[in-house]
């Protein structure tokens, strides 16, 4: 039978309030005047001393003068010690109890409670086939039916409610009537913020008895800082974390290099976390948008290191499909099943229509053409469809090998391609900088949009080096130390570059390696990029045409970046947003993983139209389609929050330090037990008893020193000593 936590039967002890303490046997305090007994005895003892005639008091007086001060202090100390001893003895017999008990009592007014329930995904951890969230649901029901049945209660979940529906107080009965078990929710903010919100909510309530009840697993990320003290009432922290969570999860799947190229070997990198030393087999599969499995790797054993982490790399060759889901899965089962699989959606762009523009035929142009399409159009899966001639509307990339400055119109065309999301690669013949000054102002202005800066004069040569480490474009093209394959450039068109330009490769001269001159520049322009190579792959100027990194580098520059992909990956709780050009429909259709379909109206923004959907509740693929087309415009892969897999917990006392108004429990049974202890008077007299024992020892020591404690011998006065007897 469950007992009410907040009501204590006080008839079992007599309450005597003194110095903030209650006493189990308060009547014993009536004996406190007995503490004065040593004083009385002292006075009586003084009066009863017999008068003894003595020959002279001269030496007695001087002896007293010498020892009186010390003896008097000793005597007063002894007297005080005895008085204190008596008082403490009576105090101990009265058995003081901590006043804390009464502070947890129910004072008659209707209590107000705020329950903060952690329903994040980490609470789905199972123990004995019961999840932490199940325990939270049971505990809330239990509290509402018993301890909080007379209270007004507000329930705060991990995710904030909409601003127009804030938490409000309801009676326990009405809450129970409309109660449905909490479901897991993503919580972009830490639970500590929700506790703070609940605390603030209680502060605003006009009640004398306030309860803040927090039900959580105390996951580390939920409590990045200790909770502030809750002074307005009592705080109950139900710590539901598992002692030794048996869980291994996949927290990230990524592609290396991140830019998907069909038919080219890539690596899927799978990050696995869990208990240190655990071993689980991991497989990677490639699924199409229809769910059809295209490829499945052999399992690789993930042996977690001491930190409980490991990265596994799976070689994969992406199929020639637009959307591919790279799905990593753990074999076997554990206590947290939802993180055993994780998916990365990639969009494999269709063959890029690429225009090679060159005013004259030269060895450099031939080298570029060969690098763009080494099969000369003979391989259908080659990601670039290379064409020569003038720029057309359907071109998505352009490579211009310039031996003279282009006209203003050509420059505008190339810039327009970049602004619309295409990529432009410009190769410049050294010596062009000498004619820059002779160009018309309008032509220079048009070219300035494309070039990293205005060219400057100068003669530079040197070895090719990487100037921007870890750039995705160069990923895999350098060795382990980040060094580009050896290449030498004899002459370039020098640029200074402005702030928006990234210098990817540079020239390091033999005499000055600290200040390399820029060789390859990347400049963002609109939605696309302009890459500028400040030389030609011509033996006259450089040997980069034979560099093993030249071909993949040129192909990557022509392919769209992963950031501009129509396939993206987000976590549950984040809004699903699609930015489309103004030419897109005014409303788009969104297909949800559960089979639902929504028409989402677009909102015009600067230079485009934005479609926003914030009602994603399930993980899976959300597919945007146009009103008139069946092909997906974009696909969003919504996944559960990876951080919820990190089952690292904070000790409860670091989240909320122990205090008189705080109870930390590991279960409802533990909570009830602790509340029972708190509402029972706690005898608190061991300190006094210890003091009594110390004082007894002190008294014995001092008494023996002063002689006042010595037993009285019957023969204390020898016959003839007193009164001047005859010898």
């Amino acid at each position: 039978m469950k007992q009410n936590l907040f009501i204590v039967h006080r008839s079992s002890f007599i309450v005597g309030l003194m110095f903030g303490l209650e006493f189990l046997f308060g009547w014993a305090l009536l004996a406190l005047p007995l503490a004065g007994a040593p004083v009385v005895l002292h006075l009586l003892f003084r009066r009863k001393s017999p008068v003894v005639p003595f020959s002279t008091l001269r030496f007695i007086r001087s002896s007293i003068q010498r020892t009186a001060a010390r003896k008097r202090i000793q005597q007063w100390l002894l007297l005080a010690c005895r008085v204190l001893l008596m008082a403490l003895l009576i105090w101990a017999i009265a058995q003081p109890a901590k006043l804390l008990a009464s502070r947890w009592l129910h004072h008659g007014s209707a209590p107000v409670a705020a329950i903060v329930a952690d329903n994040s995904y980490s609470m789905l951890l199972q123990q004995n086939h019961v999840t932490r969230l199940d325990e939270v649901n049971d505990a809330i029901g239990d509290l509402l039916r018993n301890e909080l049945r007379d209270a007004k209660v507000a329930i705060f979940t991990a995710n904030s409610p909409p601003t127009d529906q804030p938490e409000s107080l309801q009676t326990a009965a009405s809450l129970l009537a409309g109660w449905s078990a909490l479901k897991p929710q993503p919580n972009p903010k830490p639970l500590a913020d929700r506790v703070a919100a609940a605390s603030s909510f209680l502060d605003r309530q006009d009640a004398s008895d306030k309860w803040l009840i927090v039900l959580t697993d105390l996951q580390n990320k939920e409590f990045p800082r200790p909770l502030p003290p809750f002074d307005g009432g009592r705080l109950v922290l139900l710590d539901l974390h598992a002692n030794d969570p048996r869980s291994v999860g996949i927290t990230e799947v990524s592609l290396d290099p991140p830019q998907p190229v069909p038919g080219v070997l890539s690596e899927a990198v799978v990050e696995v976390i869990g208990r240190a030393g655990d071993q689980r087999a991991v497989t990677v599969a490639l699924d199409g948008l229809d769910g059809q499995e295209e490829y499945k790797s052999a399992p690789i054993m993930a042996s977690l290191d001491n930190g409980g982490r490991i990265d596994l790399r799976f070689p994969i060759k992406l199929p020639n499909e637009r959307f591919v889901a790279i799905k990593a899965a753990l074999s076997g089962d554990d206590d947290l099943p939802w993180d055993d699989t994780r998916t990365l959606l990639v969009e494999i762009p269709p063959r890029q229509p690429t225009r090679l523009i060159s005013p004259v035929e030269s060895p450099g142009v031939r080298a570029v053409h060969l690098a763009l399409d080494p099969n000369q159009g003979g391989l259908d899966s080659w990601p670039l469809n290379v064409r020569t001639g003038n720029l057309a509307d359907d071109d998505r990339a352009a490579v211009a090998v310039l031996t003279r400055w282009p006209s203003e119109g050509d420059a505008h065309q190339l810039a327009a391609l970049a602004r619309s999301g295409g990529n432009v690669v410009v190769f410049l013949a050294p010596g062009l900088e000498q004619g820059w000054a002779t160009l018309a102002e309008s032509q220079r202005s048009a070219l300035a949009d494309l070039l990293p800066s205005a060219p400057v004069s100068g003669s530079y040569s040197g070895s090719v080096i990487v100037t921007t480490a870890h750039d995705p474009l160069l990923n895999g093209l350098t060795d382990d130390q980040g060094i580009f394959p050896p290449g030498h450039v004899r002459r370039i068109v020098p640029f200074t570059g402005d702030r928006s330009v990234t210098v990817l490769l540079g020239l390091a001269s033999e005499t000055d390696t600290a200040h390399p001159q820029g060789l390859l520049f990347r400049k963002p322009l609109g939605k696309g990029f302009v890459y500028t190579m400040a030389t030609l792959p011509d033996p006259l100027y450089s040997n980069i045409a034979t560099n093993p990194a030249f071909l993949p580098l040129l192909v990557r520059m022509c392919l769209p970046s992963a950031a501009g992909s129509a396939g993206s990956n987000i976590e549950l709780g984040q809004p699903i947003v699609l930015d489309a050009p103004l030419s897109a429909d005014h409303s788009l259709n969104l297909e949800t993983p559960s089979g639902g379909s929504y028409d989402i109206p677009g909102t015009d923004i600067d230079g485009g139209r934005r479609f926003n959907f914030s009602g994603a509740t399930d993980p899976g693929l959300y597919i945007w389609r146009g009103q008139k087309t069946t092909d997906p415009l974009a696909v969003i892969n919504v996944q559960l929050p990876a951080s919820e897999s990190e089952l690292i917990y904070r000790p409860a006392d670091t989240v909320m330090p122990h205090s008189d108004n705080v109870v930390i429990a590991r279960s409802m049974a533990d909570l009830r037990s602790k509340m029972t202890q708190l509402t029972e008077p706690e005898p608190h007299w061991s300190g006094e008893v210890a003091l009594v024992l110390i004082l007894v020892c002190l008294e014995a020591l001092m008494g023996s020193t002063t002689g006042l404690w010595k037993p009285v011998f019957p023969n204390m006065f020898r016959p003839g000593m007193a009164g001047g007897a005859t010898p």
């Binding site: 003892f45 003084r46 001393s49 017999p50 008068v51 003894v52 005639p53 003595f54 020959s55 002279t56 008091l57 001269r58 030496f59 007695i60 007086r61 001087s62 002896s63 007293i64 010498r66 020892t67 003896k71 002063t706 002689g707 006042l708 010595k710 009285v712 011998f713 204390m716 006065f717 020898r718 003839g720 000593m721 007193a722 001047g724 007897a725 005859t726 010898p727």
Partner: protein, 291 residues
């Protein structure tokens, strides 16, 4: 000598004393030739030395035999034997009431007077508290001894003491080279007492100090808290003997050392006598010790 019955001197006491001889440590000038050697050489019984005759010498002291042998006139010189003039000084202050010291002192004085009379020495008596109560001149006749005993019997302890002033007074009044036998508990200022002794010494008196003490005065042997009452001033002090014993004993010891040093400085005899020891045995021991 017939022994009358006195309260302070019994026939038993007399029997014990008759065996003793009291000998002053130094030669004291006396009237009757006795056992004590006089520093004044004269013509008496015991030959001392020869001296050449000078006109004016009595010719009856001429040594004719020496004249016959040497044909020169020599006068025979003899060492004159004198008797001792002793004054017994008894302290009758209130402090002497403690532990029966007063009776002890009276008995002691009586015994010593009798002993002196037995060996033909002169014994006087002086009783002093805050002033000189009794002052009997020295004598050795039975009638004098009778008066001395009766005077002792008639004494009663007074209150306060001015023993030092009494000693100074005696020093002036007594004939030169007297023996002063002081019987007292000596609860006086040591410095003043030393000065009194020096005064006696200056007057060529010999002094023997018999210091009467009770064990209780030395080590304060009480076990329980008591109130002590001063027998001279009636002042009361409540004390815990345990607290004071060590300090008190040390101070009394220092005091006794000072008194003893004062006596030694004047080449006077000092004897402490404990009242728990019977006075006759103590007296015998004293005389034996002096040789």
């Amino acid at each position: 000598m017939p022994i009358p019955r006195y309260r302070v001197f019994s026939p038993t006491d007399a029997a014990a004393m008759s065996k003793l001889q009291l000998t002053a440590r130094q030669v004291v000038e006396g009237v009757i030739t006795g056992l004590h050697k006089s520093p004044h050489r004269g013509f008496s019984v015991e030959f001392s030395e020869h001296r050449e005759y000078t006109p004016g010498d009595e010719i009856r002291h001429l040594d004719w035999r020496a004249y016959a042998r040497s044909d020169r006139y020599y006068v025979k010189l003899y060492e004159q034997e004198t008797n001792l003039r002793a004054t017994l000084v008894l302290d009758t202050s209130g402090s002497m009431k403690f532990a029966g010291k007063f009776d002890y002192g009276r008995h002691l004085a009586a015994c010593l007077a009798y002993l002196l009379a037995m060996q033909q020495d002169l014994a006087g008596l002086a009783a002093i508290d805050d002033k000189v109560r009794v002052d009997l001149p020295a004598g050795s006749s039975p009638a004098h001894l009778d008066r001395l005993f009766k005077s002792l019997e008639g004494l009663a302890p007074g209150k306060s003491t001015d023993l030092v002033a009494g000693l100074h007074s005696l020093g002036e009044r007594l004939p030169r080279r007297s023996l002063v036998i002081l019987i007292s508990d000596l609860w006086v200022e040591p410095a003043a007492f030393s000065r009194a002794l020096q005064h006696l010494n200056y007057r060529k008196h010999q002094c023997m100090v018999l210091h009467l003490l009770d064990r209780a005065e030395l080590d304060l042997p009480y076990d329980k808290q008591i109130t002590l009452q001063d027998l001279e001033t009636d002042e009361k002090l409540q004390i815990n003997p345990e607290d004071l014993r060590e300090t008190y004993s040390r101070q009394v010891e220092e005091y006794l050392s000072t008194i003893r040093r004062g006596c030694n400085d004047c080449d006077f005899e000092y004897h402490s006598m404990h009242v728990h020891e019977p006075y006759d045995k103590a007296l015998v021991k004293l005389i034996t010790r002096r040789g």
